[in-house]
Amino acid sequence: MSAESGIAVEVEDLSIRFVTRERTLFAVNGISFALRQGEVLGVLGESGSGKSVTLKAMMRLLPPTAIVSGKVCVGGADLLAVPESKMEELRGRKISMIFQEPMTAFDPVFTIGEQIAETIVRHEGCSWRDAEKGALELLERVQIPSARQRLGNYPHEMSGGMRQRAMIALALSCKPSLLLADEPTTALDVTVQMQILLLLRELQRELGMAVVFVTHDIGVALEVSDRLAVMYAGRFVETGTTTEVVRRATHPYTKGLLNSTLKGVEPGERLAAIRGAPPVLATQPRGCSFAPRCDLAMPVCTGEPTPVARRGASHLVCCHRSGGLHGTGATVRTSILQGHST
C-alpha cells in the first residue's frame, strides 16, 4: 500500500540558470511538483520554456555552466546533493530517461542486445548470460517483432519506431520508479507515434512507474497524462488534472495554446493566435512573463509577483486575473503539494 500511494518524486523550487561570460539565461525559475507512484505528469510547453532542461537537471545531465538550485527528492535522496558516484547508481535503477532522438542514446558501434545487457550487468551485478536473457525479455516486452534477431542489430539497422522501442527497453532495464520522457514521439510519424504512446501507457501501468512526460504537442500530452503542467518561460502557469486544465483552462496562455490546436476550428475561420514570440530569458522575470503577449494584461502584471489562484481540488493558476487569494511565491509550492495529496 505504501508503495502505491508513495511519492515517487518531489521537486522543490527548482531553478536553473546558464551563466556564460556574455550573459546569464534564466531557463527555469522556481518550479515545484510532486508525483505519486504510478502517476503521469505531462509538462506542456513551447521551445525555450525550460521543459527539457528541467528533465536534464533532474537526471543531473547538465553541463557545468548550468547553475541548479532547489531539491529533487527521489526515494529519500536529494538528487541534486548526492555525490556523482551515488548518482550513477541511482540512474537507471531509480530514475531513467528517454529522448527524442534514440540515435543519440545508443552507442553506434555496439548491438542493441549488448547495450541493454551491459546496463543490466552493471546495475544488477548478474552474469552476462542472465543479462542477455533479460535483454531478450525486455525487447519482447516493448513488442519488437522477432526480438531474438533484433538483439544482434546495430542501432542504425532499425527503423525510427523500432529504435524508440529499443530505447524504452534500455531505459526500463533496471525497473526505475521514475521515468523522464523528453518528447519521445516528436520525430515519429503519426501512426508510429500512437503505437509508442500506447506502449508507454501500458508499460507505465504494468510497472507502476511515475512518468514526467515533456511535450509541445497538446494532443500527445492528453493521450498520456493524468495531470498537466503548462510551462511558460521557466514557470508552471497552470497545473491540474488533465481534464481540469483542458475543460476549465484559465490562464490566458493555456487558453491560447488550446485555441491554436485547430481542432474544431472551421476551415477559413480566423485563428485566435497569441501575438508576439516567447521571451528571451535574459533577466529574472519579476511579474508575469506572459504579460507582454497577453490581451488581458494590466499594469500590475509586469510589476508584481504573480499570485496563485485555486480553481479546483488540484487546479492552480498563476495569473493576476484569476484573483490570487492564495498568496504568492512560497505558497504556490505547498498548495501544489496539498492539492495533489488530497
Binding site: G160, M162, M194, I218, G268, L271, A273
Partner: protein
C-alpha cells in the same frame, strides 16, 4: 460566399498572367515519376530503386489550396521539388495554366519560377546567413532584372506585407530573428516576383503552436490579397484540414486518395487514410485512443510491396491486393473524391468491394 460569387471574384482579381481563364487548372500534373537508383554494391543481386514518386496525376484549381499529406518517405516533398524542377522528373508532364513546363513551345523554367515559388521547412537553412533581410528579399527581383534600388523598395513593401516593420527588421541578419520571423522572411522572398502559386513544404511544422497560428493567419491574408494558390505539404492533419480546399493522401510514392477536404475527413474510404486520421492524438482527455490504428513502421520505399503498396499493413488485405495494383476509383463525383483501393473498385474481386462498412475500424 457562394461558389459563383467566389469564382466571379477570382476572375475579376486575376492577374494579367492569367492566360487560361478560370476553368483552366492552374497546374495540371500527369504521370509524374521520379525513381532514385541506389549505388549497387558487389553483393547486391538486384538494382535497388527508391520509387520516391511513382506515376502521380493531379490538378490544382485557381485560387485553391491543395493539401498533400502522408508519412515520411511517401514522396510528398519530392513531389514539390519536382514541380519546381529542383530535381528533374523521370517522366510526366506539368502544365501550368495551359502551358507545358520546360518544353520547347511551353513555359521556360525561368518563366515558370516567376509564377511558382517555394517555402521550405527549415527557415534558417534556407536563408543566407551572411545577408541582411532586405537584401535576401530583394535578391530574386534583381536576378530577374529589376534595378537594385527598385528591388529594395519592393522588398520593404514585402516586409510590411508579411508583418515585419521594415525600419526594424531590414538590416538584421537571419540569426537575429526568431523562427516565426525567419519564416515570414522566407514567405516575403517567395512573394518577391509576384508568383501565382506558392508551394509550402512543411512551412509551419517547425514553429511553436502559438506562432504557427500567426503564420497561418498571414498565409490566409496573403492568399486573399494577392489571389494566390497554395500547395500545402504537411504531416499535420489538423493544419491540412484547416487550410486546404482539397487533399491528396500519399503512400509510398503514390496517391491513394484525393478529394474535397470535407469529404476526405468526414468519410475517408482508403484504409490508410482512415488509419492516418485515427492516429491523430485526441483533444478530449476522456476519450483517449485505445487501439493503435496501424502496426509497424511505414515500409522502406526501396523496392516497395507488390500490388497495393499498403497491403502489408492493411487489415482488409486479400489475395487480389497482393497481386493487382488498385486503380483510382470514384467515390463521390461531386466532391471529386477518388480512392485507389480494391474495396472501392466494383470490379476488383475483393470480397468487400463496394461496401462502405469497415467493421473492424
Amino acid at each position: 460566399m457562394s461558389a459563383t460569387v467566389k469564382s466571379a471574384l477570382r476572375e475579376a482579381q486575376s492577374s494579367p498572367f492569367d492566360r487560361g481563364g478560370p476553368q483552366q487548372p492552374l497546374i495540371a500534373v500527369e504521370g509524374l515519376r521520379k525513381h532514385f537508383r541506389l549505388k549497387r554494391s558487389l553483393l547486391d543481386r538486384e538494382q535497388k530503386v527508391v520509387r520516391a514518386v511513382d506515376d502521380i496525376s493531379f490538378e490544382l484549381r485557381k485560387g485553391d489550396t491543395l493539401g498533400i499529406v502522408g508519412e515520411s518517405g511517401c514522396g510528398k516533398s519530392t513531389t514539390a521539388r519536382l514541380l519546381m524542377h529542383l530535381i528533374a522528373p523521370d517522366a510526366g508532364t506539368i502544365v501550368f495554366d495551359g502551358d507545358p513546363v520546360n518544353t520547347v513551345r511551353g513555359l521556360s523554367l525561368r518563366e515558370m519560377r516567376r509564377q511558382m515559388q517555394m517555402v521550405f521547412q527549415d527557415s534558417y537553412a534556407s536563408l543566407n546567413p551572411r545577408a541582411q533581410v532586405l537584401d535576401i528579399i530583394a535578391f530574386p527581383a534583381r536576378i530577374h532584372g529589376l534595378p537594385a534600388a527598385r528591388a529594395r523598395e519592393r522588398a520593404e513593401e514585402l516586409l510590411d506585407q508579411v508583418g515585419l516593420r521594415a525600419g526594424q527588421f531590414a538590416r538584421r541578419y537571419p540569426h537575429e530573428l526568431s523562427g516565426g520571423q525567419r519564416q515570414r522572411v522566407n514567405i516575403a522572398r517567395a512573394l518577391a516576383l509576384g508568383p501565382r502559386l506558392v508551394l509550402l513544404d512543411e512551412a509551419v511544422s517547425a514553429l511553436d503552436k502559438s506562432v504557427e497560428a500567426q503564420v497561418l493567419n498571414l498565409l490566409a491574408d496573403l492568399k486573399q490579397q494577392l489571389s494566390l494558390s497554395y500547395i500545402f505539404i504537411s504531416h499535420d492533419l489538423n493544419v491540412v484540414r484547416y487550410i486546404s480546399d482539397r487533399v491528396l493522401v500519399m503512400y509510398l510514392g503514390q496517391i491513394v486518395e484525393s478529394g474535397a477536404t470535407k469529404a476526405i475527413y468526414a468519410a475517408p474510404r482508403h484504409p490508410y487514410t482512415r488509419a492516418l486520421l485515427s492516429a491523430v492524438p485526441t483533444m478530449d482527455p476522456e476519450r483517449r485512443t485505445e487501439v493503435a490504428p496501424l502496426v509497424g513502421d511505414p515500409p522502406n520505399p526501396i523496392n516497395p510491396p507488390s500490388g497495393c503498396r499498403f497491403h502489408t499493413r492493411c487489415a482488409f488485405a486479400e489475395e487480389v491486393c497482393k497481386r493487382a495494383v488498385p486503380r483510382m476509383s470514384v467515390v463521390d463525383v461531386s466532391a471529386g473524391h477518388n480512392a485507389a483501393c480494391h474495396m472501392v473498385d466494383e470490379t476488383s474481386g475483393h470480397s468487400r468491394r463496394g461496401s462502405t462498412e469497415m467493421a473492424a475500424s
